[in-house]
């Protein structure tokens, strides 16, 4: 009897460290975030007075709508680019090819480069005064004055490009491991039926890849909505708010304008957005667990 009770408690003992970390870093801060959003608090989180829904008023402003729009463009085009490039690369690397191991190693490298250093490197490569791309294009007389990759007009496009650069390897890895599980018989049968090329891809490969694509796409979407370091290091949200995404707005509200309540309201709004994604992920994973 005693032994059985101990056994019942054992899994919780193993889980204790994980639970403590998650309560300390997720549960308690999120509870604080909720009351912050209805209060006036100073920068170190000291309560001053309740303000009702006043902190949420910024969410209705055209300025914030513009930020949401930009974040939407950033997420959609980032994902689109990652999926197009990632799928092509995974298909190219799936079957035996001389030098495949080496190429796979190189293809994945952007994934291990921290966001900040991806930011410093690309800022320099695309720099408008001495950057290598502009200098080469000018030397070849393709352009006669430097392209402002990080200027008002192109900054968002540029950071989306760098996001794609950083995000492609994750998808390539996911798709490659999924492609490996396609049984060779499926392919042989398709070949006998004469289903080859594009037809083979849309009828056989794509349906088999769909579950992995949905999962990887969902996670990549959640990460894209909230990426901070990459954009902040390259543009700081500028020039003229051209790259001010959701995460940068929260940062500026909290740590530049010292408006913690306002930042908490936007953070809560962001949590609501990613919760939808989290809910989808949970449903999918637990379904898998029950199988």
């Amino acid at each position: 009897m005693k032994l059985k009770r101990r056994k019942g408690r054992l899994p919780y003992i193993y889980l204790t460290p994980a639970i403590i970390v998650m309560i300390a870093i997720f549960a308690i801060p999120l509870v604080n975030l909720i009351w912050y959003s209805f209060a006036k608090v100073n920068l170190i989180g000291k309560f001053q007075k309740w303000v009702g829904f006043k902190n949420f008023s910024y969410i209705a402003t055209p300025e914030f709508m513009a930020t949401l729009g930009r974040t939407g463009i950033w997420v959609v085009f980032g994902l689109l680019g990652i999926f197009i490039v990632g799928t092509i690369l995974a298909l190219c690397l799936n079957k035996p090819l001389p030098g495949r191991t080496f190429m796979r190693t190189v293809v994945i490298i952007p994934w291990v480069i921290p966001h900040v250093f991806a930011g410093t490197m690309w800022s320099w490569v695309l720099n408008s005064s001495n950057g290598i791309i502009n200098t080469i294009l000018m030397n070849l007389h393709i352009i006669d004055k430097p392209i402002g990759f990080l200027g008002v007009d192109l900054a968002l496009v540029t950071v989306i490009f760098i996001r794609i650069w950083k995000g492609v390897p994750f998808l390539v890895m996911s798709l490659l491991s999924a492609l490996q599980t396609i049984p060779t018989e499926v392919e042989d049968a398709a070949k006998l039926d004469g289903a080859l090329g594009i037809k083979y891809f849309t009828h056989i490969t794509l349906p088999l890849l769909k579950p992995v694509m949905v999962m990887s796409g969902t996670i990549l979407m959640a990460w894209s909505i909230t990426i901070f370091d990459l954009v902040y290091v390259i543009t700081g949200g500028g020039p003229l708010n051209a790259t001010e995404l959701l995460s940068i707005t929260i940062y500026k509200k909290a740590f530049v304008n010292s408006d913690l309540g306002g930042a908490a309201a936007i953070a809560l709004f962001t949590m609501a957005l990613v919760s939808i994604i989290a809910f989808f992920l949970m449903k999918h994973n637990v379904k898998e667990e029950n199988q």
């Binding site: 889980l15 460290p17 912050y36 989180g45 000291k46 090819l97 490298i109 890895m173 995460s247």
Partner: protein, 279 residues
């Protein structure tokens, strides 16, 4: 004969198309790294040359960077954050994954759901209330706070990955050990872990990347110079208009550890990631 020839030609065509796409991507993937390495050896006055092939070898850039900036301090802080994050993550994740893989208990499904959900909680959302909390708990400007915060951020994937791997190990293996007088923890350490090396290595590498990547937490939750990481230190150098050859020298130093770990763990990384996904 003709059919065979046609088949070879088709194969060659297939190879050319595949090489074409992969090589274009490899060039884009490596371009910033190549330029960073080259720039880090270029004298300041020659920065505008933008040569395609290496031309200078001014290693003094690195020496000057180390003399004029707290480079060693930045590196030390980054190593503390990354190793701290990976060690804590691996130990905590092994214990949690073992519980989730080997026991049936009431809150198993809710717990799994929470693990899955925390993957999408953004750092910027957490850091806002964490800033105030760090003051009231006296943990502001400590290594341990940054490490614990990064562990929380990094832990979901290793738990799921290790659970998937443990699930594939037959229970009979531990049962034999327990019969031989091993405790449960003993069986975990002596029987399960040695065969789980690929998954453990993957978990370690993944959390090391996360710890080395840490930016927002050290930037906001610390203030003393000794706790400035490479990420925060270098991004500040960009802000105060430091010469680009120095920034690139710093960047090259900063990307070497994750690339080395990636190359060393690569064999396991791909196997480990696959093991996690086809459970």
């Amino acid at each position: 004969m003709n059919a065979k020839k046609r088949k070879t030609m088709k194969k060659t065509g297939n190879y050319i198309v595949r090489y074409f796409f992969v090589i274009i991507w490899m060039i884009i993937a490596l371009l910033p790294i190549y330029v960073a390495v080259m720039t880090s050896f270029t004298p300041f006055e020659k920065l505008g040359e933008a040569m395609i092939l290496p031309k200078y070898f001014r290693w003094e850039n690195y020496v000057e960077l180390a003399r004029q900036t707290p480079l060693w301090q930045y590196l030390a802080a980054s190593i503390i954050y990354a190793l701290g994050t990976s060690l804590f993550t691996v130990v905590i994740a092994i214990l949690a994954a073992y519980a989730l893989s080997r026991f049936k208990f009431k809150f198993k499904i809710p717990f799994l759901m929470i693990i899955v959900a925390i993957q999408v909680v953004p750092q910027i959302v957490i850091v806002t209330p964490l800033y105030g909390l760090s003051y009231s708990t006296g943990l502001y400007d400590t290594y341990i706070l940054i490490i614990i915060a990064m562990v929380a951020t990094a832990i979901a994937n290793p738990i799921l990955l290790l659970k998937g791997f443990f699930d594939s190990i037959p229970v009979t293996l531990e049962e034999a050990a327990v019969v031989d007088g091993c405790t449960r923890v003993g069986a975990l350490v002596r029987v399960i872990l040695p065969v789980s090396l690929p998954a453990v290595t993957t978990a370690f590498a993944l959390s090391f990347f996360n710890g080395w990547d840490a930016y927002l937490y050290p930037m906001i939750l610390t203030s003393s110079p000794g706790k400035v990481s490479m990420t925060v230190g270098l991004s500040r150098m960009v802000d105060i208009v430091t010469p680009w050859n120095w920034i690139m020298a710093g960047t090259v130093i900063a990307i070497i550890p994750p690339i080395l770990i990636y190359l060393m763990a690569q064999k396991y990384l791909i196997g480990g990631l696959t093991a996690g996904s086809d459970k």
